[in-house]
Amino acid sequence: MSSTDKRYATSIDLPTEDVFRNLQNACHFAVDIGGSLVKVAYCSKLHRKTSHVRDHKEDNNSIYQILEEDGYTRRLHFIKFETKYLHQCLDFIRGHLMQSKEFMLEKKNIKATGGGAHKLDKEDEMECLINGRSGVSFVKVESDTKYERIGGTSTGGGTFWGLGSLLTKAKTFDDLLELAEKGDHKKVDMLVRDIYGGEYSTIGLTGDIIASSFGKAARTDKENVPCYKDEDVARSLLLSISNDIGQLASLYCRLHQLKKIYFGGYFIRGHPLTMHTISFAINFWSKGEIQASFMRHEGYLGAIGAFLKGAEEEDTERYTWGENFAGCSGLSSSNPLLDSRERSSTFDMLELDKLEKMLQPCSLLLDPNSYLPDTVDLTTDTAAREYWIDCFSNSVDKTRDQALASQTGPDVKERAEAFKQKYLQRLQELNDNPCAYGSLTVRSLLDTSSHCLSDCLFTDPYSQLKHTENEQALKCLPQLLCKLDGLSLEELQLSLAKGLLAGNVFDWGAREVVDIMENQDFGFIEAQDKLQERPWLCDNYEEWHQRLQDKPHKCAVIFVDNSGADIILGVFPFVRGLLRRGTKVILCANSRPALNDVIYSELLILVKRVAEISPDIQTAYENGTLMVMDTGQGSPCLDLRLINFELVELMKKQEADLIVIEGMGRAIHTNFDAAFSCESLKVAVIKNRWLANRLGGDMFSVVFKYQKPQKIIAAKS
């Protein structure tokens, strides 16, 4: 997508094309030129292939038509780099901005600030939260709208840089950090050991603790002019300031009874030694009670807020912005030897994609504030992290092939290969530094893959496959429904549950299942045979069955998973069962494609095709007792903190009292421990041997987790 930009790239050896992505399509542009850092922000019009399905039966063999169209969306880009690269970058920026038709047409909204930034720009830096550009501010945040500055200190990044410039030969902030990496502060600082000859045990100070920063540099006579290495001085300076910030932060937390601290701002900028020192200080002074967290794109807080205000003044409330994992840079590795990619310390990038919907937390969550979607934190669970990174690395070829097969054109092969390289590099980066992109979960690994695909213009690699599977499954539906109608009520209910599970066996996201599906004729019956015998790994079927003897639910919200057998042979019969009991059903599918998950636009057509087969479905769909909604998401996992607000409204309106979550991604990797204020049913077949073993089962183990509404247990205060 930047093949025409080569002439600019040749003149400089900086990765500007990778950094200023899609600049030729920028519409709003802002640059803040500071003494040390340049921050660039722009909003670009982004070319996207979008796949649509159309309900036109051109021939009798096709249930719907797949169309790939060129679409456009908006993306926000935030880039930060050292001022020394300014001139090289400006050439590139100038060249590309001129190419932007939109930009030239609109001729507005260039925000150039810097130097006396306050005089030019009206945005209130503080309102957008903390910005530790020079000093440090401590801001207590109680909610999205309620916050106050509770204090500050003048000893921050500016002090580090100012004193560092006086004391060493370092020219830039990063030079200073680099010096500090190599230095030994013990040459300059006076340690407890230097005073006591050992530790000061009565008050628990070990010998290594710094008693007096720069204490050894304190001269007491005119002779013996000591000489200190720049490295040692820089390190001592970094430690003293980091320590001090950590101490003051702990004190402010103690004063205001806070337990969590988020660090942002210029001083920290993802530097491992700084973060380590601050964390250590906080842990030491709070006796482990306060948790320190660091922001990955620190320093942008002000910029994002200001830019959103400026760029999207008219409709900023109507959209949600989501991070594009494919275009963002991560933190550098904590081990400098491992970090061969200099890029992350030179250019810091953040990209936010405009999502179509306004998103809100799911109203059925027991406590949206404490809800965390992810079941396993891969930054702390080493074994799981190693397994999953390995697993995704090994399946990247299959994904690439799928992408390759989904499109035609001269550059498809190149793009597919680019996807592979991009994703593998990211996995390697995460392997070296698990925290490089903030939280690390199976969800983020899956989402990163989707983002990388989409970035290489592969919008929906599985669209054809989904189509074929939907078609085949539809053919089997009449017979299945007929068979179900012949069962006793008792048998029917177990069959519906098992059907839901059998359908879920079909999953192109599970490598081991893909092998089976590719190599043998594998149908719905075979899938049922593969299922674990009862009792299942997690088996609340009796409770569920018991519940079905009772009065019907008012409304069930079902988050569906895969296309084909899963949705058609598993979910629809189950839905029919609920409808027949008098329960309304809201079927929820992803807005955007991910793997072979059924998406909203497909589901809208599928429901009609199923209606042609099942009168119950037809009636329900017509009279509105069966509803189809989009979730606002595009992930194989489910983050209930951010779903389509219309769906949330509908759940409330219909007084939903049952939530059904189906599939590994939505019910195991995420939401397995989620607590709901209504009844919940989490159903999945574990199609990964390693995970199955870890949970104490084997391949095709079944999770059928039914829970009554949960209540908030008052926490001890």
Binding site: G35, S36, G116, H118, K119, D124, M126, S134, G135, S137, R149, T153, S154, T155, G156, G158, W161, G162, L163, G164, S165, L166, L167, F173, D189, M190, D194, I195, Y196, G197, G198, Y200, T202, I203, I209, I210, A211, S212, S213, F214, G215, K216, A217, A218, R219, T220, D221, K222, Y228, V233, S240, N243, D244, Q247, L248, L251, Y252, R254, L255, W285
Partner: protein
């Protein structure tokens, strides 16, 4: 009978010598020539070797200690000169005394062996924090700075403070580093906080930045300097007061915040740098002390330690900062013998210990 109390800190060693009024008694006790020699040497000089100094203005006569009357002399020398001190003691035949010196501070541990081996002197070690709060003279010499104002540094005056009902109070001891103790009763205290940014940091940074060689020099430089040439103020960033968060334009936003720019560095003098260093360290200590006081629910904060010696700039800054940021709820207190509390407490500890002994006997 203890004649000496010694507090061996990271940077400075503080020595208190008790000179009995009745020298006859000394002789009756048969306490030999050596002691007299030492006595004559200490009292007859106000400087010892290259770096030892007797603070004559702090001298206290007519003091009653351990049932004896006498004069207290206050002497200090850099801990780095400990070797010279031991040599001096050796040359004055200290070893023949075969007596004990009570000592505190980290150096009491660090140099214990050396004292024993080279001059046969046993150090009676006391915990430095215990010593810090043992001085009975607290009430007599406590004062505060009235009307301290950062804008008018010369306007405030020293005013005595009645410290007869002291508890609870916070002791902020600023030596090389900083220790903060919460004292709630004669035997009830706890070290509640500490910081490595203390007097040692001030002097260390000043030496590196200005090439000065002594604390006095550093303070003298600072007295002439203007930190505004070095620091970035709120008004430098926001053009004036930042009223939204109630920050005055003159508030320091970033210490040394202008020094990353080469021309600004060229414009800043050594004294400006020394001043900024002093203000940075002092304000940091002030913030920490204020928050610790608030969390400990204590309103009297006593600042001690040699960082405050000849350092009215810092004292007034602390006085102002404590008052201003706490809306007058906190009071910063200071003591005349700011740096000698460890050494004095150490003598007291020894006295009370030996009295207990004689009571038992």
């Amino acid at each position: 009978m203890p004649w000496f109390g010694m507090d061996i800190g990271g940077t400075l060693t503080k020595l208190i010598y008790f000179e009995p009024s009745d020298m006859m008694e000394l002789e009756q006790q048969g306490e030999k020539e050596t002691l007299k020699t030492i006595h004559r040497y200490l009292v007859g000089n106000i400087a010892y070797g290259n770096t030892g100094i007797r603070d004559t203005h702090l001298e206290m006569s007519n003091q009653q200690i351990g049932g004896k009357k006498g004069t207290l002399h206050f002497i200090r020398f850099p801990t780095s000169e400990m070797n010279a001190f031991i040599n001096l003691a050796k040359s004055k035949n200290f070893s023949t005394l075969a007596c004990a010196i009570c000592a505190t501070g980290g150096g009491a541990y660090k140099f214990e062996m050396e004292f024993k081996q080279r001059i046969n002197l046993t150090l009676h070690k006391f915990d430095e924090l215990d010593c810090l709060i043992k001085d009975r003279n607290f009430p007599l010499e406590c004062y505060y700075w009235k009307d301290a104002d950062s804008d008018k540094p010369n306007s405030s005056n020293k005013v005595p403070f009645d410290f007869h009902n002291p508890y609870p109070y916070l002791v902020v001891n600023i030596g090389s580093g900083v220790s903060i103790l919460a004292v709630r009763g004669p035997f009830d205290y706890k070290r509640v906080w500490g910081s490595s940014l203390g007097g040692g940091t001030f002097l260390g940074l000043c030496c590196l930045l200005t090439g000065c060689t002594t604390f006095e020099e550093a303070i003298a430089l600072a007295a002439e300097g203007d930190s505004h040439k070095v620091d970035k103020l709120v008004k430098d960033i926001y053009g004036g007061d930042y009223s939204r968060f109630n920050l005055k334009g003159a508030t320091v936003a970033s210490s040394f915040g202008q020094m990353n720019i080469e021309e600004k560095r060229e414009q800043a003098s050594k004294s400006d740098l020394a001043r900024s260093t002093l203000v940075t360290i002092t304000n940091n200590i002030g913030s920490i002390a204020r928050m610790v006081a608030t969390t400990e629910k204590i309103d009297k904060v006593v600042f001690v330690g040699n960082f405050l010696r000849v350092n009215t700039i810092s004292m007034k800054l602390l006085a102002y900062a404590m008052e201003y940021w706490s809306d007058g709820a906190l009071k910063a207190l200071f003591l005349e013998h700011e740096g000698y509390f460890g050494a004095m407490g150490c003598i007291m500890e020894y006295v009370s210990m030996s009295q207990n002994f004689s009571n038992i006997n």
